[in-house]
């Protein structure tokens, strides 16, 4: 099925992205010292400030770093200068009459400061009726990494879903379709519409309808717009520019008729995270991720085992040869448009489920999709999948690096895109001769 070389490359890509981001997270050493950082908190019991309580802070070696007394507003603060695991404890003898800790709770909290992400690190004790609950629980580092990795996997799967279509369309027609991102939005938005029309139906129905709608739009665009234009002998650069215009039309039609307000699917408004082993996931993710994976596997199956899938690969590889072998190019092109748009719509619906449904969601994803596709290799579906996963992982993992803000998630994808284009434009799985 997949050549050993392909599999190796794919694994290499994902592994590289993972290692890169892990290294980044772990080894971009934050400065050891800092000025002006404090541990602080506000002591209250049933809404009332607790005054005059002594808070003692010690470092991991047991040395006292400082102590403070809570003021009239219940606030206390102790300056710290190094990264360490601190023991923050309340001197019980200083508690006023009638105030204590909850049964079973202690007067001590361990607070680990492993990065200078901010200046003030709050530590809380709730004193009520003799009860105290440390407000912050800190997960160990490995757990946070695992959480991020799962998050990265989820993002990666969604990006992959959206990217496959773009890559296939390019592979088979040579067109870089800028309007592909709007397919993502379109899917999410139509599913939303279907849900709104019949809220009592199980959510699967709007999802299915949304995907069908996406497929239908793909059909309409290919047959109604791009095929006639190809007949007119328009070259691919001109068509690319047409697709840019198309993207605007679709995006702003959605803006007008869906609105600019971000909205969530009613069925899954807000879910509390459930713990699965060390990771916390909302239950919807537990459905989305396997379904997305299943769809991608389905794509692989389609490409390898069905006739239409084989013709897709053949046309992407060598159009004149494919045509002379009797493959109906137009049918193949229509098939990639339908399949690609359907997948993008699915990606959009899932994205809407995990985040929110809004008119710009596709636009925000566009460059990520491009990054995924170029990383994996423009023109191959497997490349898009590998690229999508790698980009998803890399961008989620780098948000662990305290040094960089959330902006930089996006940047990472862009930087990857730029570097790949300059160093190995055909991507990981692409073939050299396809260029120029």
């Amino acid at each position: 099925m997949l050549s050993p070389r392909t599999v190796r490359f794919g694994l290499l890509a994902v592994l590289t992205a993972l290692i890169f981001s892990l290294l980044g997270a772990l080894f971009l050493a934050p400065p050891a010292e800092a000025q002006g950082a404090i541990l602080n908190g506000t002591l209250k019991a049933q809404g009332e400030s607790v005054v005059g309580v002594v808070v003692v802070v010690s470092d991991s070696a047991g040395e006292e770093v400082g102590r403070a007394t809570s003021g009239d507003d219940g606030k206390w603060e102790v300056p710290i200068t190094k990264l360490d695991e601190y023991l923050v404890s309340i001197d019980v003898t200083s508690l006023p009459e009638g105030v204590g800790f909850k049964e079973g709770a202690t007067n001590e909290v361990l607070k680990e400061i492993d990065a200078w992400t901010r200046e003030k690190f709050p530590v809380g004790f709730r004193l009520e009726d003799g009860g105290a609950v440390p407000l912050l629980t800190i997960d160990p580092l490995w757990q946070r990494i695992l959480q991020r990795a799962v998050s990265g996997l989820r993002v990666g799967l969604l990006v992959a879903l959206a990217a496959v279509g773009l890559s296939l369309i390019y592979g088979v027609t040579g067109l870089v379709n800028f309007a592909h991102s709007e397919m993502v939005t379109f899917g999410a938005v139509t599913a939303f519409g279907f849900e709104a029309m019949a809220p009592s139906l199980p959510f699967v129905v709007p999802v299915f309808l949304g995907i069908m709608a996406g497929a239908a739009l793909g059909f309409v665009l290919e047959r109604g717009l791009f095929k006639p234009l190809r007949k007119r002998k328009m070259n691919n650069i001109s068509l690319m520019i047409v697709s840019i215009g198309l993207a605007f039309v679709l995006r702003y039609l959605i803006a007008i008729y869906f609105g600019t307000e971000p909205l969530a699917y009613k069925h899954y408004l807000l879910q509390t995270e459930r713990n699965i082993g060390p990771i916390a996931l909302p239950p919807k993710d537990l459905v989305i991720m396997p379904v997305a994976l299943f769809l991608l596997v389905l794509v692989g199956f389609l490409l390898q085992k069905t006739r239409i899938g084989t013709s897709m690969r053949a046309v992407a590889d060598n159009p004149p040869l494919a045509e002379s072998s009797g493959i109906d190019i137009n049918k193949t092109i229509l098939a990639v448009w339908i399949a690609g748009s359907a997948l993008a719509a699915a990606g959009g619906i899932f994205l809407g489920l995990t985040n929110i449904v809004e008119w710009q969601m596709g636009e925000k994803l566009l460059l990520l999709i491009f990054a995924a596709v170029t990383l994996g290799g423009l023109g191959t579906a497997y490349g898009a999948i590998v690229g999508g996963l790698a980009i998803g992982m890399a961008s989620e993992m780098t948000s662990m690096v305290p040094f960089l803000g959330p902006d930089f998630k996006f940047m990472v994808a862009l930087v990857v895109l730029i570097v790949i284009l300059l160093v190995r434009p055909q991507g990981i799985l692409g073939v050299r001769e396809r260029l120029g």
Binding site: R232, I237, I241, I244, I256, F408, I418, L421, G436
Partner: protein, 358 residues
């Protein structure tokens, strides 16, 4: 004429319907876009470079200048700041060009958008808020609410039309009244547009331009004739980039501030549409295109707005809040339509318009 159409005509405020677009056609914003289109014309029209990141150069010029002014280098000398902005843009051109110019057309397009976005996100990031003003931009919040604007020096101190004792004085007629600051920027802006258009045209008519046009059509042919294609493309990128920086500077000065939202990919697509509308690879195409672009867009917007306000377009179809989005749909239609039916735009030549896939 039917009863209905008389009613429609009666309800329309023709003065505003035509005045608004005409005003937009001569305003500073049109000049800014014309200037950017002149730069893009050199890149794409004459050299065939698919630069979809023109905003990167505009941002380089605008932010480069703004940072220098805000940091008070050389006493806040505006001229020095402008120089730095231009140099920064040239630098960006080199940074883009050296690695990316080897790439084929559609790959170059993607790289240029990506680099422009990297710049925008960097400027917006709170990481360097000290320098760039982060999401709020420059001048920083406190200064801006105090009324400080980047354009004060040029717009007031160096403005012969401006009278400090009568700062809100306007000149003009009908819908075309402008205050002295805007008027000055319009004059300076359009002069720059003409200057740059002429310069680019002269370059293109020279032997250097001949090589550029050959490269646009067939790089290998140019190489076989002994021309160092890479150098020429880089030179074109730098010059067009500096012109783009001028556009960014003009906008920064006339609006008085820089802010990362001014440099989204959308703006690049506007410039593209303007260029193609006017006619790529022509002398005055960028100018006509930019002016017409805003004219058409605002005409459509104004028309739709009035029809909606008067009830001639039902609210379920387009509501008053949607009107501003309509012009963007219009832009998409214009861009696609032009590429399909008239890729040479208004002033371009058909033989030269259709680029072969490289």
């Amino acid at each position: 004429m039917s009863h209905n159409s008389e009613l429609i005509l009666a309800a329309i405020d023709f003065s505003k319907l035509f005045g608004t677009p005409i005003r937009a056609m001569i305003n500073v914003q049109a000049a800014v876009f014309a200037l950017a289109a002149v730069g893009l014309n050199l890149h794409y029209g004459f050299t065939g470079l698919l630069n979809v990141g023109m905003v990167a150069f505009m941002a380089a010029g605008a932010y480069g200048m703004a940072i220098i002014v805000t940091q008070g280098v050389l006493g806040g000398s505006v001229l020095f700041a402008i120089l730095i902005g231009l140099i920064f843009a040239a630098f960006i051109a080199l940074v883009i060009g050296v690695p990316a110019l080897r790439l084929r057309g559609d790959y170059l397009a993607i790289v240029t958008i990506a680099i422009a976005e990297v710049m925008r996100v960097s400027f917006r990031s709170t990481k360097w808020l000290e320098w760039t003003g982060g999401p709020f931009g420059l001048p920083r919040a406190e200064e801006r609410s105090a009324g400080i604007s980047l354009g004060d020096r040029i717009g007031e101190d160096w403005n012969p039309l401006f009278a400090a004792d009568d700062p809100t004085r306007t000149w003009g007629f009908w819908q075309l009244e402008f205050n002295m600051r805007d008027l000055w920027f319009m004059i300076v802006g359009w002069l720059l547009v003409i200057l740059c258009s002429v310069m680019v045209w002269r370059l293109v008519q020279s032997p250097w331009g001949r090589v550029i046009k050959a490269i646009r059509e067939d790089e290998d042919a140019a190489r076989a004739l002994g021309k160092n294609v890479f150098n020429y493309k880089l030179q074109s990128l730098v010059i067009g980039g500096v012109i783009g920086a001028l556009a960014g500077l003009l906008r920064a000065f006339s609006s008085g501030f820089v802010q990362s939202d001014q440099f989204k990919p959308q703006t690049t697509f506007f410039i593209w549409t303007a260029l193609i509308l006017g006619g790529a690879a022509s002398k005055w195409g960028p100018v006509i295109g930019a002016a017409l672009f805003w004219g058409v867009l605002l005409f459509v917007e104004e028309l739709v707005r009035q029809l909606v306000d008067n009830g001639w377009i039902p609210e379920w179809l387009i509501s008053p809040t949607d009107v501003s989005q309509v012009k963007l749909i219009m832009m998409g239609v214009m861009l696609a339509g032009l590429m399909i039916w008239r890729p040479q735009g208004i002033l371009g030549k058909k033989e030269e318009a259709l680029l072969d896939v490289r």
